[in-house]
Assembly symmetry: D2
Homo-oligomer: 163 residues x 4
């Protein structure tokens, strides 16, 4: 039997900042009455897109340069169930940037006032997604342009500095 | 900078067996022309359900006993992109069973003949999902009944034996 | 051969008002490079929820009263494809309210400035969803309370008046 | 107030034949404990794809010819809620085929034996989707090749004949 490692990302919450908010819909829930696990991934994408856009690098600009950032690895640790009508806040940061890789860390929470009767912040999950830079036409690894790398790196540094 | 660990599950493919098949739909793809990462999770659920059913423990029976098996951790490593109209095969096994936990491992592949022009098996991803047993009404951890545990354990052993 | 009727809802755009906005994600697109038709339904739900909340009737309050508003009929006419990164605006109104029914009309558009290079508003679709009021426990039709009906009716009137 | 027409497709069940089956997952349900309305659309796509493939026209072949069949109109009437673990059967037919259009009709049912304790067939919904043939690169209407049209027409006739 393999000794199971952990898929829980090593995240220091103080290094993340709030990037996106969203309201949980019926579409996100399942018959257990809570958010279906896979429904969170679109909120992580939304967060990633806004984080990159905030770095001055809209994803559409990467596309125009013939590049894409597909997912290579995912690690998620679920802490508490999300509920219908929760207003979730996704805290995030770029945790690693190289010319060929970008890692994002996320922490999804519900704040008091964003769920009826909630008195203290509840953490729904922590996640990390790891992406590599590829050419869109071939799917093969490709280095970002110096300008793209510079912008993402600056965003990563700003995130690190603000913590 | 945190030294990033790996979210790639430690899977020995020879210990898995084919459990489910599915045809990739437009609904599963994104504008990169490949399967959107989150679309795989429903195929993993489908596989999990069939694996448990095959163990003589339909998930509805767990529900009737007031129990649920929510996800606690996910680790995924994407290897190659899935394509529209691929007939995917999900190989899987129960990799750990205790009275309060169940771990599943998965390997999603496309076999020659299941994608036009494909000459050898291509691996799309490896994943592991970790679940804990809880009471449905309170969400609190709860031990499975001896009978449930016995059936899942037997299924786990059979899987191990067949490898 | 049946003479095919039309599923295009009879909508007067001047009677609708903007209720919700959302950014199109990769999650919403398919390999044709456009928004997958079924992806719009979660944006319609988002709109419905905000419209009802704006009427002073959060959906959670209906639930607490033991009621639900499941869908009975859907009519959609697609006009133009939605694109990745579009900022869509959903215009909507309550078009019919009785003690046991509620109809919603929607028009999804992209405004100039919300898609690169777009110079005039483009309409993506028109839709109408029809719902009936049921008891959550039995699924059987049930009349809304006078207070609920009053609030929805007032919202419907306000919508009509503002046009 | 507009006199509301009906979005219920005019379907004669005796003209449809069973095309696809699928097991309802947690992924498909919502907190009402039933299938979320938008979850059915992927099962309709699955059905459409199999119906066309059965006509000797795999959708990938249309794509290779530079064509696509995007949705233009949808009409759905929901009859009864689908439940978790239901094995649904989708009956369908091509109800109209021209060089530039194709209409599909669907009836989704659960048969006795495919839901615990079910004693007679229950109808979940009736739907019709209307598609037009377009060029993939421009999105503009385009006529199918005579061969494609012939195959779809033959499939439509066979469906009509078998009723």
């Amino acid at each position: 039997m393999s000794a199971p490692g952990s898929f829980t990302p090593e995240i220091d919450p103080s290094t993340l900042r709030p990037v996106a908010q969203a309201r949980i819909l019926y579409a996100d829930t399942d018959k257990m009455g809570i958010v279906y696990h896979a429904a969170y991934f679109r909120y992580l994408e939304l967060t990633r897109v806004e984080l990159i856009r905030g770095a001055g690098l809209p994803y559409t600009e990467m596309e125009d340069a013939g590049l894409a950032l597909p997912l290579v690895e995912i690690g998620v640790r679920f802490a508490s169930p999300g509920l219908y009508d929760d207003l979730i806040t996704v805290h995030a940061r770029l945790s690693l940037v190289t010319r060929v890789r970008a890692h994002f860390q996320y922490r999804v929470v519900v704040e008091p006032g964003d769920r009826l009767g909630l008195e203290q912040t509840v953490e729904l999950l922590r996640a990390e997604t790891r992406h590599c830079c590829v050419r869109r036409d071939t799917g093969r690894p490709e280095r970002m342009s110096p300008l793209m790398f510079e912008r993402l790196s600056a965003a990563q540094q700003r995130g690190a500095a603000s913590s």
